[in-house]
Structures are given as C-alpha cells and as structure tokens.
Symmetry: C2
C-alpha cells in the first residue's frame, strides 16, 4: 500500500471543496485512530475539521459515509503494482507494503477501526470490500505479467495469489493478534509462490 | 472448530456455580451476537442470565472478562484435531470446521464481535490470542503426524501451515468482506499443502 499515513497536503489542493474534503477526511482518520469507529460522530468530525456541521451532514450523510470516502482516498493514494520484471520481487514489494501499512501506527489503526466497523455496519463493510478489491485487482497484474513471462503456470489466478499472500498478515493482525513482522511478509511470498509454481492457483475449469 | 453454536446444556451441569456460568456465558454470547461488543454491559448480562449483578461483577469483573471466559469455553468445546491417517483429509477437516464456524450465524457473529473488540481492547485481544493459539497448536499435531508418516518434509512448521490454511477464510470474512465458501476451504488446503510439499513451511534454521 505504501500510503502516506497522513492525508494533509496529499489530497490535491484544488479549491475550497477539495480543502474541506481533505480536512474532513483527516479529522475522520484522527478520530478513528484515537477512539475507533464507535467513537466517531459527525459533530466531532465537523468541529475537528473546522467545517460547518451542515456541510459534513450534506456531503457525507453519516459516519459510514465518512469511512467510505476515507477508504476511497486511501485507495487513491496507494502505490501501483510493482514491475521489476521478476515475480518474486514484485510480490515481495506488495507483501512488504501490506506489512508497512498494518504496522504503521496511524494507517494500521485506521484499517483496524474500519475492519471493526465492518463487522457491524454494512456501509463500512462495503467500503472495505471496495478498498481491498481495488488493491487486489491492482496487484493481480503482477501475476498476469509473470504468467506472460512464463514464470508461473498459464491460468494462475492472480487475485487469489495476492489474497493468499496478504491473508496471513491480516490474520495475525486482527484474528490471532500476533506480531506481524517483515519476515512474515517474506515467508508469505515464498509460500504463495511455491504453491503457485506447483499449479495450485490455476483457476478451476 | 465444530463448536455447538449454543452453550446451553453443553457446559457440564455440576451444581449451581457451573449453572450460573453457563447462563452468564450464554447471555454474553446472545448480546454479542445481537449488539456486538460495544452493546455488551454487565447489567444486561446479569438480567438476561437471571443472575445477580454482584455475582457477575465478582466473578467476571468486566465485559472483557466475560468475553475471555466465553472464548475459553468455546475453545473447550472445539473439536480435537482429525486423525484419518492422511494429511490432506485431516487438514480439510480443519479447514471445513473453520468454514463452518465462520459461516454459522451465531458462532460467526460471536467471532466477529470478539475480533472487533480485539481492535480496541487489550483483554479481548488476549482472549483471541489464547483461543487461536490453542486451536492452532491442537491442529498442528496433524502436520507433525504427517511428517512422521513421511507425507511432508522433515521440519515442516505445523502451526504455520495451519495458520496459512485458516488465514484466507478469516481474511474474506472480516477484511475483504467477501463470501466464504466450502470451496475456499478446499482451495486453501490444496494451496497450503502444495507449498508444504515443496518445503516452503520448513522452519528457518
């Protein structure tokens, strides 16, 4: 992912509307990090962003609306897929960026707050699905390129391989609550690749 | 896992203390399923269980204390590792029981509520870690037996293989919020096994 963990200054300036959005999303992320999804209120976001409540209600409607827009912005700022010409290096770049994201104090806490929100709020769940689907599709390209270069079997499902590499990192983060290390990211890549080379990711006919 | 999704009648009868515990844990799970961790209060649990508040406060201390005890009981009721004499069948039994747990309305909602709680509460996080560590250790035995039978390379890390097979199911459940199917469980096993056979789960020296 390699998102900058702060939004301020990264959302393009472009006039008042864009500035208001940047301030509101920054405040949303601040509150998610400090208090979690259940601590997020429209009024607090408005106050912290220095924006009128009416504006926040009119443009975002609800706190899940804020979360959805934040995730959209984080997806926009995420790094494109690597293209080193070698599938192992490309997938490692992906896995390391996931590791960096989940262990980044601010970004990791944001992801965890939205994951928690997704368990009880349909709009937050949709925002997660949209965010990760976009990231998975982006990185699946790395696998398609490797198949074209003959590094992996014809028909290897890139999205599934990317999921299999990311999954153990998120699993440790939010399910087993174990530390997530760079070594875990490296292992995930070598295990995913070993299975892919053996044809275990070739799509069902 | 293959836990019965209701606790009532499954906790050993054994006198008043055990009956109180069964009623309190059943009420805790009811409220987690219906309202999530943030909707869980000691007073509600006491009222729903028909038990005095003082008892609930004295024995469990706090809502994370209730969650920790519930997870302990669910771990106690979880199925032991399979032992069919074939590593693929054993691991499939594990993966299918994870799939059954996460797609069971009551148990799946309980796990999601505790995962959400773990993102913002250290005691809930500890309860998750204890629950999953115990389940992972239990199922890792399957891999140790396979190594002894010569089905998998010497030094294969059973805990890591079990994690790698479960992770994609939980990843779809709480992170990407995608459907989790039995086919996903089957794929997870064949992918994990392919990597294990290639030696990708042999522990670092």
């Amino acid at each position: 992912m390699e998102q900058p963990s702060r939004l301020a200054g990264t959302v393009r300036p472009g006039g008042r509307t864009a500035r208001v959005r940047a301030a509101v999303l920054e405040a949303t992320q601040d509150i998610l990090v400090e208090h979690g999804f259940h601590g997020l209120t429209m009024d607090q976001v408005a106050a912290r962003a220095g924006v009128g409540k009416t504006t926040v209600y009119r443009r975002w409607g609800s706190t899940p609306g804020l979360v959805a827009d934040l995730m959209k912005e984080l997806a926009n700022q995420s790094s494109p897929h690597a293209d080193t010409g070698d599938v192992e290096s490309d997938l490692l770049a992906n896995a390391v960026s996931v590791w960096e994201a989940v262990t980044d104090g601010r970004l990791g806490a944001t992801l965890q707050a939205v994951i928690a929100a997704g368990t009880c709020d349909e709009e937050a769940a949709d925002a997660l699905r949209a965010f990760f689907t976009r990231r998975i599709d982006e990185w699946a390209t790395v696998v398609d390129l490797a198949v074209k270069r003959g590094e992996l079997p014809e028909g290897t499902d890139g999205g599934e391989l990317v999921r299999a590499i990311s999954a153990p990192l998120y699993y440790r983060l939010v399910v087993t609550r174990e530390p997530v290390t760079r070594r875990d990211a490296e292992r995930s890549v070598s295990r995913g690749l070993a299975a892919a080379r053996a044809g275990a990711f070739v799509s069902d006919p």
